[in-house]
């Protein structure tokens, strides 16, 4: 089997499995006051310190959640509510047009139900936000902006955003910035404190940790209204009994992913560059989406994203799947039913180009054999899919 969908979920690192399973059988609620509770609490706090160390944050800035979607919802809605409560004029959200649905739909929900106004920050043909566009939006709406949300790295086409630069501009207007960094941790250098961002979403299953645990890194002075009410376990911003084993696995994976980031990025970029070059040789009319320079400062190292003119993305997926090659037609959330990707549309691609796209994402177990398998299959598969594309349009 050739797994080229690591941006959806990457296998857990063996050390993370070991760390996590060691705690699955133990009793103990980290909020309990007895010895078992204290033991659980200690494990959580050690993991928090490990994660903070890996991400350049202080332990007190880490709010554990159930994953990226919850962290994005908490950041966008919670910061919006807090800022609006402090100043009722602040009800505008600036967000990039290529955000993940967890941010996108949170913003749209606030517009529909909480009176939020939205300014979508446009992107160039590579999917990158122009800092001047943020500057312009802030000049126009300085007094009414509640928050800005711009992802660190795009989940579909792998484009890296100039987050530090955007944050500096935002802070010039005293506006907080949230970034969804789930795709970035362990693949590009990333440091919460150095980036200056006010809030950052991270999650376990993209970096070799378990599914179902993540965190929102929330700067000390950043106010955030909770989504989940109850015991107030995490800084009173997030309630719910802590998933001790999950947190241990997450922290262990993050520590390794960050430590090994430079070599991993270099190795994956090498494989990816090879994939892109050879695929374009086999399918010369394929169109590379995202940043064409493949530069490590502009694109995730393991990401390759193409449109195949005349083919339906889901036909390609079916044919590759039948040959044991697994990839994705877009973000997994809109998979199942093929919808043209909002990310590609935002980069100026037409609907046909968006519908004919596939994402190949490499991860820590990927090897040259995986690339070879894809290159061997992609020619016949695109030929066949092209015929089906014509058939379904008759």
């Amino acid at each position: 089997m050739t797994y080229l969908d690591h941006a959806a979920a990457t296998p857990m690192l063996p050390a993370a499995v070991e760390a996590m399973t060691a705690h699955l059988g133990s009793a103990g609620n980290a909020s309990s006051l007895h010895a078992s509770g204290r033991r659980a609490r200690r494990i959580v706090e050690e993991s928090r310190e490990t994660l903070a160390g890996a991400l350049g944050a202080r332990p007190g800035e880490i709010v554990f959640t159930a994953g990226g979607t919850e962290s994005d919802n908490l950041a966008v809605k919670g910061m919006y509510w807090a800022r609006r409560a402090a100043d009722p004029r602040r009800c505008r959200i600036l967000a990039s047009a290529v955000e993940h649905h967890a941010v996108l739909d949170s913003v749209l929900w606030l517009a529909e139900h909480e009176g939020a106004l939205i300014t979508w920050l446009p992107v160039d043909e590579t999917g990158r936000v122009d800092p001047a566009a943020l500057q312009e939006a802030l000049d126009a709406f300085a007094d009414e902006v509640a928050l800005i949300s711009v992802q660190w790295a795009n989940n579909e086409i792998g484009t890296l955003q100039p987050v530090a630069e955007l944050t500096e501009i935002a802070h010039g207007y005293d506006v907080p910035l949230h970034t969804d960094a789930v795709q970035a941790v362990g693949l590009v250098p990333l440091d919460f404190a150095a980036s200056g961002v006010d809030a950052m979403t991270v999650t376990g299953h993209k970096l070799g940790g378990p599914i179902g645990v993540g965190a929102l890194l929330l700067g000390r002075g950043v106010d955030c209204v909770p989504l989940l009410h109850g015991g107030g376990q995490e800084r009173d911003v997030r309630s719910g009994t802590l998933d001790v084993a999950g947190i241990v696995g997450f922290a262990a994976a993050a520590e390794i992913a960050v430590k090994e980031q430079p070599e991993r990025a270099e190795r994956l970029a090498g494989l990816r560059d090879d994939l892109v070059r050879r695929l374009l040789e086999v399918v010369p009319d394929a169109l590379l989406n995202g940043d064409p320079t493949l530069a490590p400062t502009r694109r995730l190292p393991g990401n390759a994203h193409f449109s195949f003119p005349g083919c339906e993305g889901d036909s390609l997926l079916l044919l590759l799947d039948a040959r044991g090659i697994e990839c994705s037609t877009g973000s997994a959330c809109s998979a199942g039913v093929a919808r043209p990707s909002h990310v590609l549309l935002a980069t100026g691609a037409d609907e046909e180009r968006a519908r004919s796209s596939l994402r190949f994402s490499l991860g820590h177990p990927s090897t040259r054999t995986d690339v070879d398998a894809l290159i061997a299959a992609i020619g016949p598969v695109t030929d066949r899919a092209r015929g089906a594309g014509v058939a379904s349009r008759r």
Binding site: A322, C333, V337, H342, A391, S392
Partner: protein, 363 residues
């Protein structure tokens, strides 16, 4: 063979897929997403029933251990089935959307794509049999769906597979239970799938707007309506005529004319037709020549009567040996030789021995 199993989420298509697997075929399941309910902000949001059906289909595929995908055919379905349905009613005809869907979606768009992708056949849960390339009625007369498949050409039948045609529905349910398929007890679907509340008149009114007009009997105005499209030849209910007929007998819709916005009503006896003409004939084989002694059926599970059918210049004339009641233009006439489907056509006009001109929609 490589077989694409269309899986609706119901019990029939699940068992059909299971039987294709048992027969040794390499089966892939596909759920056809046909209805695109207006989206809010979640892309991919659909009516809950459709989502539930897709989930049921996926679970059946999981159990069978076959790959499963959702194919979005909402756009094709809207253009080829839903809009056609509305346009036909607007023109005073009575369409059968299931038949259109088989003709243009399942055994056209889906089959074409499947064949192009390298599949050899499309299996569905329809109750009908294919023997030596010809289409036959199902063994279970209460479930027989050969009528709504009567539009398929020999070429379309070549790549179709109906694993349930030889079974009784009760046996199919029992088999689903035995196989552990969760959908074993799921109720059959009946209504037009894109009108889940079953209110066709209300749906048409929303799509077409109010077009009030007269209800006429023997040249006299006897009532009023909000839109002629809401009436079908043979319909009795919903006329809301104030006065009873002179003979005290119930009245029925005899004719619908959207252009003049009139609905003509009359006694049951006036509904009997013994001749009809059909356009766009389709044959499960070469087009026949001369007059054929066959059997005619004009609606799903409707009465079957002997007839003589003649094809002249692409138009089919059918002389019925005993009258059929309430035949509306737009319906399909499917011709059988015994249990074998010979072909079909869309009814353009009907006539009766008394020679009263009946139900010829004005252009």
């Amino acid at each position: 063979m490589k077989v694409l199993a269309a899986m609706s989420g119901g019990v029939d298509s699940a068992v059909a897929a299971a039987r294709a697997v048992d027969a040794g075929h390499d089966v892939t399941g596909v759920h056809l997403a046909l209805s695109a309910t207006p989206e809010s902000y979640r892309s991919g949001a659909r009516g809950c029933c459709t989502l539930e059906d897709a989930r049921d289909a996926r679970r059946a595929a999981d159990l069978l251990g076959i790959p499963f995908y959702v194919w979005d055919l909402a756009e094709r379905f809207r253009a080829d089935v839903v809009d056609d349905f509305v346009a036909e009613y607007a023109a005073g005809r009575t369409p059968n959307p299931c038949l259109r869907c088989n003709e243009r979606i399942k055994f056209a768009a889906v089959a074409d794509r499947a064949l192009a992708l390298g599949f050899d056949a499309v299996a569905t849960g329809h109750y009908a049999r294919i023997v030596d390339g010809a289409l036959y009625r199902a063994v279970d007369p209460s479930k027989d769906q050969s009528y709504v498949l009567g539009v398929l050409t020999a070429e379309q039948l070549r790549s179709a597979m109906f694993p349930l045609g030889g079974s009784l529905k009760s046996d199919v349910r029992a088999e689903a239970q035995r196989r552990g398929l969760q959908v074993a007890a799921k109720p059959d679907s009946h209504d037009v799938c894109f009108i889940p509340d079953g209110d066709t008149a209300g749906y048409l009114a929303r799509r077409l707007g109010a077009e009030p007009g007269d209800i006429i009997e023997d040249g006299r105005v006897v009532g009023a309506h909000h839109g002629a499209y809401a009436y079908t030849v043979g319909q009795r209910r919903g006329l809301r005529l104030g006065r009873p007929a002179a003979d005290g007998q119930p009245r029925f819709v005899l004719d619908v004319s959207p252009v003049t916005r009139t609905v003509t009503v009359g006694p049951a006896a006036a509904l009997d037709v013994d001749g009809l003409t059909g356009t766009a004939p389709r044959w499960c084989g070469p087009a026949p020549g001369g007059a054929l002694r066959l059997l005619a059926q004009v609606r799903a599970h409707g009465e079957v009567v002997p007839c003589r059918a003649t094809l002249t210049d692409g138009e089919l004339s059918v002389a019925l040996e005993s009258p059929l009641r309430g035949v509306a233009p737009g319906q399909a006439v499917v011709l059988y030789d015994g249990d074998r489907v010979v072909g079909s056509a869309t009814i353009r006009a009907t006539s009766r021995a008394g020679d009263l001109p009946l139900a010829v929609p004005r252009p």
